[in-house]
């Protein structure tokens, strides 16, 4: 089972986890990314490339499914404006055993950060700046190559 959603509204981790728990698996892992108040950030805004984003996230899920023999895999990514403390992204992986699910979550979030067409703007009050891509994210993603 692959589920991908791009949405403005917040997500429901309990509902998403329950969907995967129903697959007869022994393990479900999740990762949630949240807006941090780093360096005075008050909010962020996420732009994406409709169509390509969904295709890109589905491809990442498909790869994780094959690689770790997952029963299911979900990526929910919000777009639009989010305040500090709000969740941005949720990834989930379900499988028979625990190691596969935690590794797959690491893969999903690492890949998503380098491969999926999202762009983040940080707000500090009224000031807005586009976030630069991080070399550390690119570096981290290479470990899956």
């Amino acid at each position: 089972m692959i589920r991908v959603s791009i949405q403005t509204e917040a997500f429901d981790i309990a509902a998403e986890a329950a969907m995967l728990e129903r697959l007869g698996v022994g393990a479900v892992a999740t990762f949630t990314g949240i807006v941090r108040a780093d360096d005075g950030v008050t909010a962020i805004e996420l732009e994406h490339y409709p169509g390509m984003t969904e295709a890109s996230l589905s491809a990442i899920c498909e790869e994780a499914l094959q690689r770790w023999g997952l029963a299911g895999c979900t990526i929910i990514h919000r777009v639009g404006r989010m305040e500090v403390g709000e969740p941005i992204v949720l990834v989930l992986a379900a499988a028979a055993h625990r190691a596969a699910t935690l590794e797959a979550c690491a893969y999903l979030i690492d890949r998503l950060k380098t491969d999926a067409p999202f762009w983040k703007k940080e707000y500090r009050g009224a000031d807005a700046v586009w976030v630069e891509a991080k070399a550390s994210d690119t570096q981290r993603a290479t470990r899956w190559d």
Partner: protein, 83 residues
């Protein structure tokens, strides 16, 4: 061909889409950027630092040497920063 722009590139150009008929000599992504930069100062400025640009043809990421012929949608944007 339909060009689509995102994030900093979109803001620098002041538009998110434009339809362009490239001349026949323009065959690759890199040549398309050169040609667009020669057409207007705002394109020249938006495309000045090629290391900060990424490209997709029909929603697939491509390198600057990719051939554009046959593509209907050509996207130009900064490195991605989701998650």
């Amino acid at each position: 061909m339909r060009l689509v722009y995102f994030a900093r590139v979109r803001e620098a150009l002041g538009r998110d889409v434009e339809d362009i008929d490239f001349p026949g000599k323009v065959q690759t992504v890199a040549e398309a950027l050169d040609w667009l930069a020669s057409q207007s100062p705002s394109h020249a400025e938006a495309f000045a630092d090629r290391s900060k640009l990424r490209f997709a043809l029909d929603q697939r990421m491509v390198k600057p040497d990719a051939a554009i012929s046959g593509a209907s949608e050509f996207a130009i944007f900064p490195p991605v920063t989701g998650g």
